[in-house]
């Protein structure tokens, strides 16, 4: 019941279905939102439209044969998925990776972080209504990164590059000069994007203070990645639990204060700058040597279980593998970053309007391939 002066209107909330096919670019996700006029009271998520049974398929593929399937989990940043899985199997089998392979892995993972944040920020800004302009600019930079990946492994979306014990092939000679050129242009591009939209008053009004995730709730829900760092949780697996020679590089962890959409957006842009720093340091020190440990193609790790987690661009991506010393894993479970980040959506949108719902959803940055697996 809403009252206006002397007149009393009877209003009732209604359920609106944001169907699986979204106008914004986040995949097949369905939300049933209970609205009271324009204000969102509650949402009920329905997902599973992209479930392909990857975890079950793992039990039928070999350890190496599963790597192409991990590409298709979070298809925006496949290198990170490959890396997480390979780290888990290496932990299980006790394989040591050669130095050159470690450096190449770090360079690829950080380039992948850049590419992922290009899409994340671009689609967030276009969800806020910026008519695809920043989206186009950021995709141009992502194209440059994808060209580099194409040069190395022959694919632009499904890389299948990391192997258990290293990477699959050595980087070609023209990779490092091209990477150098890319590193020359990228900081200027990031500055241009910041000029375009960092201080834009309309964007500030739209995203500042909107969709606040309190720090305690972020920790309790198990949120990780830029979403948690935007809320002030200073947690980054590259510093807290270093894997894969990250302890040899110097970089900062950007954190937000309030936990609104604007902070998450700023955290992502600052992370891109820090990634550039890491790549620069790694590029100077790449040693020569083999890129792959001597590992049989049909590997049979000893029986046991292992869990390896990495700081994927979206958060903490974990692989839990149980093996019974056969050629296929007994059980492979993926800790899906996007799904766990998505559980906080409901708390974040209560009380905001429909337009904010779309903006908040865009700022969490999920990929349905990871949510549904």
């Amino acid at each position: 019941m809403t009252t206006t002066g002397e007149i009393t209107f009877k209003t009732e909330p209604f359920v609106l279905n944001f169907g699986p096919v979204h106008p914004s670019t986040h995949g097949v996700y369905r939300m049933r939102a209970t609205l009271d006029g324009e204000v969102v009271l509650d949402i009920e998520p329905v997902f599973g439209y992209l479930h392909r049974g990857i975890e079950k398929l793992a039990e039928e593929r070999t350890y190496t044969g599963f790597i192409p399937l991990t590409d298709r989990l979070d298809y925006i940043s496949p290198m990170s998925n490959n890396l997480g899985y390979c780290l888990a199997v290496e932990k299980l089998a006790g394989i040591k990776v050669p130095e050159r392979a470690e450096y190449i892995r770090v360079i690829m993972a950080e380039l992948q972080r850049l590419a992922n944040h290009c899409i994340a920020v671009g689609s967030f800004l276009s969800d806020c209504g910026a008519m695809f302009t920043p989206f186009m600019y950021m995709f141009r930079e992502r194209e440059k990164i994808l060209d580099l990946f194409d040069m190395v492994c022959g694919g632009r979306l499904t890389y299948n590059y990391m192997r258990i014990g290293g990477v699959s092939q050595d980087i070609p000679d023209e990779f490092l000069p091209a990477l150098q050129k890319f590193m020359g242009t990228m900081p200027g591009m990031i500055e241009e994007w910041e000029n375009l939209l960092k201080q834009n008053e309309i964007l500030l009004a739209r995203t500042k203070g909107v969709g606040i995730l309190p720090r305690e709730m972020a920790i309790n829900c198990g949120i990780s990645g830029p979403v948690a760092r935007g809320s002030g949780v200073k947690w980054d697996l590259r510093k807290a639990d270093p894997y894969c020679i990250y302890d040899r590089f110097e970089f900062d962890i950007p954190t937000g204060e309030v936990g609104d959409c604007y902070d998450r957006y700023r955290v992502r842009v600052e992370e891109m700058k820090q990634s550039l720093r890491i790549i620069k340091q790694a590029m100077e020190k790449v040693p020569s040597g083999p890129v792959r440990a001597e590992v049989p193609h049909l590997i049979r790790p000893p029986a046991g279980e292992a869990y390896a987690h990495i700081e994927a661009p979206k958060g903490e991506l974990g692989f839990y593998i149980v093996s019974d010393s056969s050629i296929a894993p007994y059980r492979c479970h993926v800790r899906p970053t996007s799904l766990i980040n998505l559980t906080a959506l409901r708390e974040m949108v209560k009380g905001w309007k429909v337009a904010d719902l779309i903006a908040i959803f865009g700022s969490i940055d999920i990929t349905m391939g990871e949510v549904d697996r």
């Binding site: 192409p68 440059k144 070609p172 960092k198």
Partner: protein
């Protein structure tokens, strides 16, 4: 009082956009202009070499999809395996390249082209002589550096469009 929020952000944004108007757009007009694809491109064909294949079936064992089917028979006269049928279902193939990587005799290559759509699903299953290398089916340098050197250099966006920065 911070003066940077009173309309300055809007004007800065507009300056960036108008500068883009004066730059060359990052566009490639597809059928008329084509870019050179990567030398290690994993195209959607598989190329097989009958001379070098010994019928060991490592590729069939490694393929995650099970798209390769090999039928061999013993040929006692030459004292080797004779491959009677080598069939690849390119509809199942996910172009991962694991078969090329694992072949011990360098008998497999990934294709170098990408415009290979077929009108019928039955045409996707290719066997024996359809899989040989020919000028219409060039091989790519994925895991074959000697072929990769002969292919044209990949067009990179960083080199093609150079924005004039200050």
């Amino acid at each position: 009082m911070k003066f940077e929020r009173y309309g300055i952000g809007l004007i800065k944004g507009m300056v960036v956009t108008i500068k883009h108007l004066l730059r060359h757009p990052t566009v490639n007009q597809f059928p008329e202009q084509r870019l050179n694809i990567s030398r290690r491109f994993r195209g959607n064909e598989l190329i097989w070499s009958r001379e070098r294949c010994t019928g060991c079936a490592s590729c069939a064992k490694t393929c995650p999809q099970g798209a390769i089917e090999i039928v061999t028979a013993t040929n006692l006269a030459d004292n080797k395996y004779e491959v009677q049928k080598y069939q690849v279902d390119t509809g199942y193939c996910i172009q991962c390249g694991l078969c090329v990587e694992v072949c011990p005799y360098d008998a497999l290559f990934m294709g170098y082209s990408y415009e290979r759509a077929k009108y019928r699903r039955g045409e996707l299953v290719q066997s024996d002589d359809e899989l040989l290398e020919s000028p219409q089916r060039p091989a790519s340098g994925y895991f074959h550096p000697e072929i990769a050197e002969k292919l044209p250099k990949q067009t990179l966006l960083v080199e093609k469009i150079v924005e004039k920065r200050k």
